[in-house]
């Protein structure tokens, strides 16, 4: 694939392969191979497109998901969350009017767009994948470039099948070490943000590399790449390998036969050249990594579960920010995070609700009971994940332990479907944002991986998952 002499990064290779033209405002038009829409933002874009009397250029490359506003209550329909009904109807009508395949409520493959698209093989290595949602970056785990966008850009992609962008700079984050039991991709992502900050990726596309990235399972790579936007970058990805090809082969929308062989050969050439130069490089050592948990109101406020909460810093501005976070979270500086009482545990979202996430959590709660007073919820990432989990009996394990077992959707990640906490409620959540009010007014969100969340559900307080892991 590389016809030029100059070594190139994987990002440059994919960008160059999708370059269409340069506009008079100096932006590159970049082709979008797959465009996946959701109910929260697409209705506005459909309306604007109709008003401008513009057609959808490639409805055959566009797919609609109902995820943000759908209820999770078993037996739901579009009216179960009355506030979501008009979004879902507008989504359905707009999709049908424009000839777009919709994975609607009741469809056996409905679910969170970033979970469903990989499952169905709508994500291809080396492709440009557009979604009007900042967690579009998730699909980087398969070696695609996810591009999150707003409503105007969504409308632009519908009309032109391209996006107009300034080419971002390239960054590589090299992940050293080997993860220990009880530590997963979510912990790695939180560690990166704790070490490098929530804005380190501003203006960059991030390639994750090194032994940790290579060793991650495909689903774990989706989790790591999902958190790229929380580092400030629009796209994050890992070079695709045999693991990815094995995951993708035979999925419904994947190429087959000779096309598959040809595609695979191209994908093998995607990786960054050995001597490729990145605009910025970082290294993060994950060898001694313990399970991570956020204690504050952005993801950089993360500590190991074994650590004390930080002491207040000297610097006045930093101190003010930290004091505010402590006050909001109802915590005291310089005290242990383990043992802090938990009111609710949420296992779900595009970050951590794939089958492997549910399996590890289920293995920990099997035969045990959720601690008294704790509300515990599992919302599978897709209806397909839900079905697969039920075939393995995971639903029974969760329900017998006292968990709510819901229908698939974004649920408590953004609360767009009405699933929200109460003021001052402390929630350990496998989602991606611990911002003030994100899960409801005054809600105190702690982000963590599914292992740590499951441990908290059993303990009734913040706990180290390694104390609860099945001894093999």
């Amino acid at each position: 694939m590389n016809t030029s002499q100059k070594p190139r990064t994987m990002f440059d290779r994919i960008w160059d392969a999708h370059y269409v033209a340069t506009r008079i405002d100096d932006r590159d038009l970049v082709y979008i191979d797959r465009h996946v829409l959701h109910d929260l933002h697409a209705p506005h874009a459909f309306e604007k497109l109709a008003a401008a009397m513009r057609a959808v250029r490639r409805p055959d490359l566009t797919f609609s998901m109902q995820d943000h506003t759908v209820a999770t209550k078993p037996g739901r329909d579009e009216n179960t969350n009355p506030d979501g009904a008009h979004f879902q109807r507008a989504m359905r009508e707009g999709s049908q009017r424009n000839g777009i395949r919709i994975f609607d409520l009741g469809d056996p493959e409905q679910g969170i767009s970033h979970v469903v698209a990989p499952e169905l093989g709508l994500v291809l290595p080396g492709s440009m994948h557009g979604v009007p949602d900042s967690h579009a970056c998730t699909v980087g785990g398969l070696g695609a470039i996810g591009l999150g966008c707003g409503t105007s850009e969504l409308e632009h992609i519908l009309a032109t099948q391209t996006i107009a962008l300034k080419r971002p700079k390239t960054m590589r984050i090299w992940l050293d070490g080997q993860l220990r039991p009880g530590v997963g991709a979510k912990d790695v992502s939180l560690k990166i943000i704790a070490a490098l900050g929530t804005a380190v990726g501003r203006g960059y596309a991030i390639e994750f590399a090194g032994p940790v990235a290579q060793a991650l399972s495909v689903e774990a790579r989706l989790t790591l790449c999902n958190m790229t936007i929380e580092m400030g970058a629009r796209s994050g990805f890992i070079a695709p390998d045999e693991k990815v090809f094995a995951y993708l082969e035979g999925r419904p929308y994947m190429p087959r036969g000779a096309d598959w062989e040809m595609a695979r050969a191209q994908w093998l050439g995607l990786a960054s050249d050995e001597n490729a130069v990145f605009d910025k490089e970082h290294r993060v050592d994950c060898g001694d990594l313990a399970p991570q948990i956020t204690w504050g109101t952005d993801q950089s406020q993360t500590i190991s579960v074994t650590e004390q909460l930080p002491a207040l810093p000297q610097d006045a501005d930093a101190r003010l920010k930290m004091e505010r976070a402590f006050a909001y979270m109802g915590l005291e500086p310089d005290t242990p995070v383990q043992g802090v009482k938990v009111d609710r545990v949420f296992i779900g979202s595009c970050t951590n609700a794939r089958l492997s996430d549910l399996r590890i959590a289920a293995s920990m709660v099997k035969g045990k009971r959720v601690h008294e007073g704790v509300t515990a919820m599992v919302v599978p990432g897709s209806t397909s994940v839900k079905r697969a989990a039920e075939q393995e009996g995971l639903d029974r394990i969760f329900k017998e332990a006292g968990f709510f077992w819901g229908e698939s959707g974004c649920s408590m990640c953004a609360g767009g479907n009405g699933d929200r906490g109460r003021p001052q409620e402390r929630i350990v959540s496998t989602t991606n944002r611990n911002f003030e009010g994100r899960q409801g007014k005054g809600v105190r969100t702690h982000l963590a991986g599914p292992e740590l969340a499951a441990a908290c559900a059993l303990a009734g307080h913040i706990a180290d998952p390694r104390d609860y892991l099945e001894r093999v």
Partner: protein, 214 residues
């Protein structure tokens, strides 16, 4: 998109770092396809715990009732890509954002809607922050995109940088989709070429009888 060239109006300071789009425009509890974007604006920050407006909060103070310029800290607009977080600013009459830095997706959404995003280096940012705090809404500031200057009480004009391309796009109020559709032939050519080199990218067809493996 409406063209932008210059604006004179009240500048309001909100200097926290890492202000996210859930703060700027939270997903409302009561959902509507046509929400009240004025009410949504910094919904939580403007209210006390009993949901009444906090009269001391900067956006609620009478001199900042109709701001034109928002002066912010670092990494403004991080988080979700929701464009409502720009529409809520415009509903308040804010047409210029001056910040130490702006999150990528938010900056893009500003440009899409004709809201001028200005990023200033620390020395200039600290100058304008102090002057806007000192003015406290009593006198207007002017932002001129033609001359790329910010002027107002308390000091000399401040020059700001913006790429020539973004500047032109705002000044001319160019229709973004229209601009791209000038390249419709190139898009069609690209598709033809891609059908040859990587046909699977141009064809999203489901193989009959397949279900996702989980």
């Amino acid at each position: 998109m409406k063209a932008f060239s210059t604006i004179t109006g009240i500048a309001v300071p909100f200097l926290e770092d890492d202000v996210n789009t859930d703060q700027i425009a939270p997903i409302p509890t009561k959902r509507s396809l046509k929400p009240d974007y004025r009410e949504m604006f910094f919904f939580r920050a403007r209210r006390l715990s009993d949901d009444t407006l906090n009269p001391d909060q900067v956006f609620n103070r009478p001199q900042f009732a109709s701001p034109s310029i928002l002066v912010a800290g670092r990494n403004f607009g991080c988080g979700s890509s929701r464009e409502g977080a720009v529409w809520t600013m415009q509903a308040m009459g804010i047409h210029v954002l001056i910040a130490r830095s702006i999150a990528d997706l938010y900056r893009e959404n500003c440009l899409q809607n004709g809201l001028l995003p200005i990023e200033l280096p620390d020395d200039k940012a600290s100058d304008i922050e102090q002057r806007v705090m000192a003015a406290d809404g009593s006198a207007p500031f002017t932002v001129d995109l033609v001359t790329q200057t910010i002027s107002g009480p308390g000091g000399a004009d401040i020059h700001f940088d913006i790429s020539a391309a973004d500047r032109m796009r705002l000044l001319e109020g160019l229709d973004d989709i229209g601009l791209s559709l000038k390249h419709e032939a190139a898009i069609a050519d690209f598709e033809t070429k891609m059908k040859q080199t990587s046909p699977w990218l141009q064809r999203a067809i489901r193989a009959p009888g397949t279900e996702p493996k989980i």
